[in-house]
Symmetry: C2
């Protein structure tokens, strides 16, 4: 979807499928500071021959909410506004999109500034951030204690899943991963309906791709309840957590799963399909809701 330059005057292709639906009533004021994902560089091959190739971007993006610093993420930079919002949503640091007044990304300062209506979440947020330092702070993407609280409040409704649906989506997915094909070094995540891929995002961090999808869903009021989440990366506990916070009942990965990811999926009632190769795959959880082709 092409967007004309916002606050930063850039024009970017956000790589997202246009979603045919009415615009929601409220949308925060946003910059459109998405960057081109790849950079051309000169390399040399094993025989000494010069090769011009593309490599993936990687930039720090520090998220501020009402002047309170929250976190620094390393990102490809294609969807910084959605990433910042999705991060705040998936960490349960902001509850309602209607309380977000604006999202302004300034790459010169490597920062995303989120202003809330009234601008007074600072104190509440600070108390949530303190809990991070005390309780946890996972090496792979920080987890706050309020996130864990949100997890068991999330409402996962099991969804019947046809083998046909999985195959249809896997086939549709072969059209995507443009950045990976050009430059490698990125993971892709997709939000899918039972018919097709709705949103596909690539980033240098698996977590960022998932958070960017969450941000887009939050902005567009897209429910996760009838959706399928796909990742090229592994289904670790954190990815399962993020899917749960988006209320998505089905997870599919081309890659493997971890034991803690599986336990969490079992606890939360999330269908987990992994080790996809062509039309072959393994169902690790949720087989009761799976309908094999006749």
């Amino acid at each position: 979807m092409k967007k004309s330059g916002g606050l930063n005057g850039r024009i970017v292709d956000d790589g997202m499928m246009p979603l045919a639906k009415d615009s929601p009533a409220y949308y925060p004021l946003m910059s459109y500071a998405g960057l081109k994902p790849t950079y051309p560089v000169a390399a040399v091959n094993e025989n000494g021959d010069p090769r011009n190739v593309e490599i993936a971007g990687e930039l720090p993006l520090t998220i501020f909410v009402d002047d309170q610093e929250v976190v620094t993420l390393m990102t490809l930079g294609t969807h910084p506004e959605e990433l910042a919002l999705g991060y705040l949503h998936n960490q349960r640091l902001i509850e309602k999109i209607e309380t977000v007044e604006s999202v302004h990304v300034d790459w010169a300062k490597e920062s995303a500034y989120i202003k809330t209506i009234g601008g007074n979440t600072g104190e509440l947020l600070q108390s949530k951030l303190i809990k991070r330092t005390v309780t946890t702070g996972c090496g792979q993407g920080t987890v706050f204690s309020c996130t864990i609280d949100g997890l068991y409040e999330s409402n996962i409704t099991p969804m019947k899943l046809h083998q046909l649906t999985v195959n249809r989506i896997l086939k549709d997915l072969t059209q995507y991963n443009e950045i990976y094909k050009a430059a490698g070094a990125v993971h892709g995540c997709a939000l899918c309906s039972t018919q097709q891929v709705e949103i596909f995002v690539e980033d240098v961090g698996r977590h960022n791709a998932a958070d960017t999808i969450a941000g887009k869903m939050w902005l567009e009021r897209i429910s996760g309840k009838d959706k399928i989440f796909y990742s090229t990366g592994r289904l670790t506990s954190e990815i399962v957590m993020k899917a749960a916070l988006m209320e998505i009942p089905v997870l599919i990965s081309r890659s493997g799963i971890t034991h803690m990811g599986l336990e969490l999926a079992q606890d939360l009632g999330i269908t987990m399909i992994a080790r996809v190769k062509g039309s072959k795959f393994l169902i690790f959880n949720g087989h009761d809701h799976f309908i094999h082709d006749a």
Copy 2:
């Protein structure tokens, strides 16, 4: 290398090559609480046939130094003591291994307890940890400001690298990645001499595998100056940083690189080889020190 059960009474194979060298004079008191990396689980394939497979473990490990909580890492759990030490070393949170009295991992509490001699680093450490919250905290593994300071103090001496050496190591590496072959969902990192793979570690986090190698190097007083660091994962800025803090002059990855990873390698004078396929690869930095086969 088999180790008899330590404080937790387990016997584990730590998957590391024994290093033929004299024991160093000082070694901290350590538990050997390494866990088996994989769990057997029952899955179902796309046709409904049952399949018994192995999946990778994933456990939180919270690191405490003299009762001060530092961070929680999600890990496979095979080398928790080396991981904890390597993390503290690579973040420059503890300067000398000789100040570490003991490392005790207790899985019942999902914690690694590091005691320093005198036990009074608490205050100094706390001042370093506070800087994290103020300055940065990268989504992919936390970075403290003292780490960045350490980075530009690190001493990288360029190393002549023969194409023959790279091919020898790549060939030797094909014997490794046992956990990945069994269960997927892990990344592997290796410390190599110009002759062979010296240490190979797999973990659910790329950063953890690198930190575990750093911990082993720190304990065994292995210099990085004449070594090559290999990773199955992408060479992002954080992996380049960790290699620099280990003073390793050559990085090789089967996967791609990021723009920030490349810039950092250029600044620090680290040779960067990536996109390895068989004996084909691309040299992104350090071509001046590379000697092609005649």
